[in-house]
């Protein structure tokens, strides 16, 4: 894949502003090189892209967007997106929320914080949801909850496994209790899918927190995580403020959750497709299958 941002002019002021902010070193254009937040070493963006956006020096997983993830795991040109245009309204008339939604749409080039659809992994048809961190930190409002519910209902109807990538700051407070209710709604949809004997795999990525951790993220039959991903119910800052002490190093990271028994395996990006294929195979998910899911 060609370096996406290399020749691209910012479409609008907001985007331009954001790009300027991200510059780490004024002498080097931000599109050409990126410095690793973990080991501080510079890498060429093109090298990073060829390496699944993982730092070649220390293995740090850079945050990537939902479409990049889809490209990494789905067979080429097999993804069929559903409900792409579904976007939020400000039913509670929460001050500033309309502007925030507008900014998030411009910034992320997505209409909401999750992408859903079907696609093939090693020619095996699956239903998918992939959350988008650049849209209000993947927070779950009514549209995110609805899209996740819709994909589980679709998968149930067509007897498909669901693979979900999570990244989220939790429930979206600008939607008040209607956001909280999405935790119950999505959990109900997962439960129905599960009771039908269908497979649900989650991959938790950095960061997965709050109401998403406390609902569909942790409800997978098998839960995978990316290296060093922060996975928490309450974020580290909230805990530090509550108990007024520093948290131990590595607390709430994927490795910590593995040790405590809350995730099945940590899978680096480079082998995720392979691992997903392996798990689908072991669950007897067949190859082929036409568009409406019958085999």
């Amino acid at each position: 894949m060609l370096s996406k941002g290399l020749f691209k002019k910012p479409k609008n002021e907001l985007e331009a502003q954001h790009r300027n902010k991200r510059k780490t070193d004024p002498a080097i254009p931000s599109e050409l090189c990126r410095s690793c937040p973990s080991c501080k070493q510079l890498s060429f963006t093109s090298d990073l892209e060829n390496n699944f956006h993982v730092c070649p020096k220390c293995g740090h997983h850079f945050r990537i967007n939902a479409r990049q993830r889809l490209n990494m795991i789905i067979d080429q040109d097999t993804f069929v997106e559903q409900y792409h245009d579904l976007s939020s309204n400000n039913r509670l008339e929460f001050p500033g929320y309309d502007e925030k939604l507008e900014q998030a749409t411009l910034f992320s080039h997505e209409s909401e914080g999750v992408i859903i659809g079907t696609g093939k992994i090693d020619n095996r048809k699956v239903a998918l949801f992939v959350m988008e961190a650049t849209f209000m930190m993947g927070s779950m409002g009514q549209v995110v909850g609805e899209k996740i519910t819709l994909i589980f209902e679709y998968a149930l109807k067509h007897q498909l496994p669901v693979i979900g990538y999570t990244v989220s700051g939790g429930a979206r407070m600008q939607e008040g209790m209607l956001a909280l209710m999405q935790m119950a709604k999505t959990s109900g949809a997962v439960k129905r899918h599960s009771d039908a004997g269908l497979l649900y795999l989650t991959v938790l990525t950095d960061p997965t927190t709050g109401g998403v951790t406390a609902s569909f993220a942790m409800e997978g039959d098998i839960i995978l995580a990316e290296p060093e991903a922060l996975i928490a119910f309450a974020g580290p800052r909230v805990i530090e403020q509550t108990i007024r002490q520093r948290l131990p190093k590595g607390f709430q990271r994927a490795e910590f959750l593995l040790e405590k028994g809350f995730v099945d395996a940590i899978v680096p990006r480079s082998t995720q497709k392979e691992t997903l294929t392996q798990l689908l195979t072991l669950h007897g998910i067949p190859k082929g299958g036409d568009q409406n899911g019958s085999i």
């Binding site: 245009d85 939020s88 209790m177 209710m181 109900g188 009771d195 109401g211 406390a214 942790m218 509550t242």
Partner: protein, 264 residues
């Protein structure tokens, strides 16, 4: 009444707690302890009692009635074992075909090292999933503060009621003000914006009924609850279990359903 006044009333130290409700709603109550896994969480009281002539499972969050008991009860903020204890009792209720009453009163699930280490997120998630498919009637009543996921973990019910001065919110108004506006003095504004009062939530159909409160006297509240719970359980017990769980799923399915979010 202004939203923040309700917040203050819901948190008032003299407000009856879960234990008071248990004493006044049920006879023959016996507390049953422990999650059979890690420990017993004093922030959640679970047990069996008679609602008039009907044996029911009772799950109540308890904030504590004085300083000493508030410390013991962790101010009503449960650890994962509290939610697991609740689920254990709910499963028993299903086995023995008893309705379940959940009394919600918590500022939130506890945020701490132990809670995270033992899987707070998973414990809540599991309750949400399992409650959705329990084949006995469930009714949840927010009696004081309904704090986010920690409250919802006992709130996946056939009907959700609220006391008139109770609140139910996705985040505390303090948390909302400090995160969104970086300004703790905007707590009152946040309380208004969050639509956390019983009246707001009835309008949004998040709850099904308001129990009116009268002049600090809870006798009427207890009476109305007792009769209301009894009638609701009698009605829901006539449904077959499939219909009951379908209704419960539909109750929560409607929030943000595609027809209502529009703007396609």
């Amino acid at each position: 009444m202004e939203a923040y006044k309700r917040v203050a009333l819901a948190r008032k130290k003299t407000r009856p707690t879960g234990q008071d409700f248990i004493d006044n709603l049920f006879t023959d109550f016996i507390e049953l302890h422990g999650d059979r896994c890690f420990g017993d969480d004093p922030a959640v009281i679970t047990g069996l009692g008679q609602l008039m002539d009907m044996p029911v499972t009772v799950i109540a969050q308890e904030r504590g009635q004085n300083t000493k008991s508030r410390v013991k009860r962790n101010f009503g903020s449960a650890h994962p074992e509290g939610y697991r204890k609740a689920l254990r009792q709910m499963k028993l209720a299903e086995k023995f075909n008893r309705p379940i009453v959940c009394l919600i009163d918590t500022s939130g699930a506890f945020c701490g090292i132990g809670a995270e280490e033992r899987g707070q997120g998973l414990a809540i998630a599991t309750n949400l999933m399992e409650m959705m498919s329990l084949t006995v009637p469930i009714l949840s009543v927010v009696i004081g503060e309904g704090g986010s996921g920690g409250a919802l973990a006992l709130g996946v019910a056939d009907e959700v009621w609220m006391l008139e001065n109770a609140i139910y919110s996705v985040i505390s108004p303090e948390g909302c003000a400090s995160i969104l506006w970086k300004d703790a003095s905007k707590t009152k504004d946040a309380a208004n914006c969050l639509k956390l009062t019983a009246h707001d939530l009835l309008e949004l159909q998040v709850i099904d009924k308001i129990i009116s409160e009268n002049h600090r006297d809870f006798k009427n509240v207890y009476r109305e609850l007792k009769i209301g719970l009894y009638k609701s359980f009698k009605k829901n017990q006539t449904l077959d279990s499939d219909q009951l769980t379908i209704n419960r799923y539909q109750r929560f399915r409607k929030y943000g359903a595609i027809e209502s979010i529009a703007k396609l």
